[in-house]
Symmetry: C2
Subunit: 153 residues, 2 copies
DNA sequence: ATTCTTGCAAACCATTTGCACAAGG
DNA sequence: CCTTGTGCAAATGGTTTGCAAGAAT
């Protein structure tokens, strides 16, 4: 199963990262990683907190922030700031590179994918002597209202 | 002079916007607009506050935030959140569409420009029934350290 | 005159921090 | 055991808000 593969691969990546950095392998850290990889969309820290509480796994905010910091550092999680002051996160592994259309009014986010972005990234980086880690393309605007069709159109 | 043209055009756009929306044309609002368009790079609200103070023009934070909100609404200013919690802003008019390379370690920001992005935006929007207002492409990574050349290389 | 804006300071709230206790190595 | 990590609660700091005084129309 691809999903289980992802879970265990990710666990291994995190384990290796923790060992390399001399950080401890605490149950909280793996529980948070697992919770994050059980979801597919975006989430903020507060939601993550609630999700885990609902599964009767209590972690403190401090630990959530601390662990997310580690997960960002080893590129297992991506952080977004869609113009609001609440940071949004999402899993980064086996997730398909994608970018975001953001409705300025409603805050609704649509994902899309365009491989041509990679070329732009490559060009920009080579021109400026820059090594890319990841990118985020946000397109702000508004979702077109569906047009009501009259009979006979 | 192109720069003076910009200043007065922008003032006119703002004036029309304020009139259309029934907002008052206060000196503070135009002073803030003018200060923003006297700079070219990114700035945060605190810096803007200091810049204006140095010119002996005192505005309150509330007014700064309020006015920036209006300027965002009429697309004279763009807001960025480069992963930190401090919002960064920049002028949007006559500024050349550009995007950003962000050094994850130092926070240094490099601007670049690639017209191919427009096509990606156009494609994504038409595929999802979306009307774009503006976009931001952030490429996170690290600036390559300049390699010392040995004699004979 | 009336209503919107400003300035000030207090309130907000996501995130960070300090500290005592717990637990990984 | 020693040191790092966790939980709790208090602190931080950018942004927002309430309200009285001031200014635009």
């Amino acid at each position: 199963m691809a999903e289980n593969d992802t879970r265990s691969t990710v666990k291994q990546i995190f384990t290796e990262y923790l060992e390399k950095k001399g950080h401890r392998k605490t149950p909280e850290r793996f529980a948070i990683l697992d919770e994050i990889y059980s979801r597919t969309g975006h989430f903020d820290v507060e939601s993550l907190n609630i999700f885990m509480k609902n599964k009767n796994y209590r972690v403190s905010r401090a630990t959530l922030y601390n662990t997310i910091e580690l997960l960002l550092d080893c590129n297992l999680v991506i952080k977004h700031q869609f113009g609001k002051n609440i940071a949004q996160y999402e899993r980064a592994y086996q997730c398909g590179q994608h970018d975001h259309l953001i409705d300025s009014e409603t805050g609704k986010v649509i994902e899309f994918c365009d491989p041509r972005i990679q070329e732009i990234v490559r060009t920009a980086c080579s021109m400026h002597g820059f090594t890319p880690l990841y990118h985020s393309l946000y397109i702000y605007g508004s979702l077109d209202k569906p047009v009501k069709k009259k009979k006979g159109d």
